[in-house]
Amino acid sequence: MHEMHVIKNLFQDLLKLADENNTRKITNVYLKMGLFTEINPEILTYFFKEQGKGTPLESAKLHFADSDMRELKLVSFDCE
């Protein structure tokens, strides 16, 4: 239920940042995800792929790092 909303916000930020950094393509996105977030990484990845079609994020890979905190953070991204 929550994942689509997260992806919508994440894309909004990434596409804005991609534009600011004059990049054509985002290749990797690094997230940090902790406990009790009620977010399912598998569903998040699915929406990430679907939402990415036709955008600079089309072939980007999503990477998750564990965290002990209750958090979901966009840490960084690789771009070309």
Partner: protein
């Protein structure tokens, strides 16, 4: 050439629900104010099509983990209405008990864990563990008590098992009646400090008259499970005519439909019920309502939380009364019924349409089913209280924002969040569910 860009943006506070408040003020004048509901539709009505009417309550209870019992009861009521089944008085009374327990459980959750942090000046209930440890412990003790009693009555509170079309698969034994009574009487002690806490909370001053909608009846009973649909504007109609009240319509910024009755919007929930049926509350509840100055018709939506407090007292006292009556009168265990999917035709089935209209914690909930002569669902419709309140929340925001424009932006943000939270919206984890977006402010 590839490069790595450091960002560090937190998403979680934007996640715990699916609502955005959008405020657009230009030159000190409010141009736009709306509550976007961006969560995806869940298609429960579609899932029900083709399923047996005897499993509908188990499917629809999954709509909500907090109001699972309410959905179960609205579903059962609609199913029994559709096939023409009349439940026994004992069954109805046990269902009323179940509804009381859910209202109590949900209201305690809202008052203590979602609203109190706002009014005690902290961001969530977690800091309260350090600053108001006794308050958190009391809240959890009271919630546990409700869950424990539900466990005994229907197997579990979240997605109950034994409440079915036709009655209950299992009826509480005498020692279980004693156990339920003991648990509920034990939290009577906690109700006094709960009232004290409620009375000490300072709710924002705000008034906006609106129409209040809920169940009404001609008896002395505070209607939660049965009744006609009524409103403070004088509407009264049979539950089968619920669409004449809800008049659902679509707005572009919300995936949930909006509703309206006599005016542009209406409110459902504890405040609506108290405004409609104040005189029918338990005397102890009425006494506290009078003491804190809550009387019909209260037009401050922030006081929905105070109305929930009043309902807590009512539900606890009425639950104890029901259990004492069962202890005195006994339970007819021959009424326990196991139906399954009615493979053995235990309950006669005919084609028809039925409506369930039940007061759940956040307001009046409607389920409507159309079934064929084999008990398969052809069509279903569920109208959830939070959906009915959305339009009213927007009208409240449109009145509130111009009144507080002289405040700082973070103060306005908090007030807007508090307003939405006062409605106890069933958008998961509403404690911090909102993005407040300002345009050109």
């Amino acid at each position: 050439m590839s490069k790595n860009v450091k960002v560090n943006v937190e998403y979680l506070t934007r996640v715990e629900g699916h609502g955005n408040i959008v405020v657009n003020v230009k030159n000190g004048k409010l141009e736009e104010c709306r509550l976007d509901i961006v969560e995806s539709p869940r298609f429960f009505e579609g899932m029900l099509r083709g399923r047996s009417i005897f499993e509908a309550q188990h499917i629809t209870s999954r709509i909500c983990g907090i109001c699972a019992c309410g959905h179960t009861l609205a579903s059962i009521q609609a199913a029994e209405d559709a096939i023409g089944f009349q439940p026994t008085e004992q069954t109805i009374k046990l269902r009323k008990l179940l509804l009381h327990l859910e209202n109590l459980d949900s209201h305690i959750l809202h008052i203590y864990l979602l609203v109190a942090p706002d009014l005690l000046g902290v961001k969530s209930f977690v800091p309260l563990i350090h600053t108001h440890n006794d308050v958190v412990r009391r809240a959890l003790r009271m919630k546990k008590a409700c869950n424990d009693v539900c466990d005994i009555l229907v197997g579990r509170h979240v997605h109950p098992i034994s409440a079915i079309v036709g009655g209950f698969t299992k009826l509480p034994k005498e020692k279980e009646l004693d156990a339920m009574l003991e648990i509920l009487e034990s939290i009577q002690v906690d109700m006094a400090p709960t009232i004290e806490l409620g009375a000490s909370l300072k709710f924002p001053e705000f008034q906006r008259e609106t129409e209040y909608v809920g169940l009404v009846n001609d008896t002395d009973e505070y209607p939660l499970l049965q009744g006609d649909i009524g409103s403070t504007d004088g509407l009264r109609m049979d539950k089968h005519d619920y669409k004449k009240i809800t008049n659902e319509f679509i707005v572009p910024h919300s995936s949930a439909k909006h509703t309206k009755a006599s005016r542009d919007s209406y409110m459902v929930g504890a405040l609506a019920r108290v405004n409609l049926n104040f005189e029918k509350l338990h005397p102890k509840a009425k006494k506290v309502a009078n003491a804190i100055g809550l009387k019909p018709i209260t037009a401050n939506p922030f006081l929905n939380t105070a109305a929930q407090l009043i309902e807590c007292i009512h539900s606890l006292e009425d639950s104890i009364k029901i259990l004492k009556e069962f202890k005195n009168e006994g339970i007819d265990y021959a009424q326990a019924i196991t139906v399954g999917l009615n493979e053995n035709g235990q309950i006669p089935v005919k084609a028809g349409k039925g409506v369930g209209a039940v007061e759940v914690p956040r307001g009046i909930l409607f389920h409507e089913y159309e079934v064929d002569n084999k008990g398969k669902i052809i069509n279903a419709n569920c109208i959830i209280p939070t959906g009915q309140n959305l339009n009213n929340i927007e009208y409240d925001m449109k009145k509130l924002v111009p009144e507080v424009l002289d405040k700082k932006q973070d103060e306005i943000t908090l007030l807007m969040e508090m307003l939405v939270r006062a409605y106890d919206p069933c958008i998961s984890c509403s404690a911090h569910f909102l993005d407040v977006k300002y345009i050109d402010c």
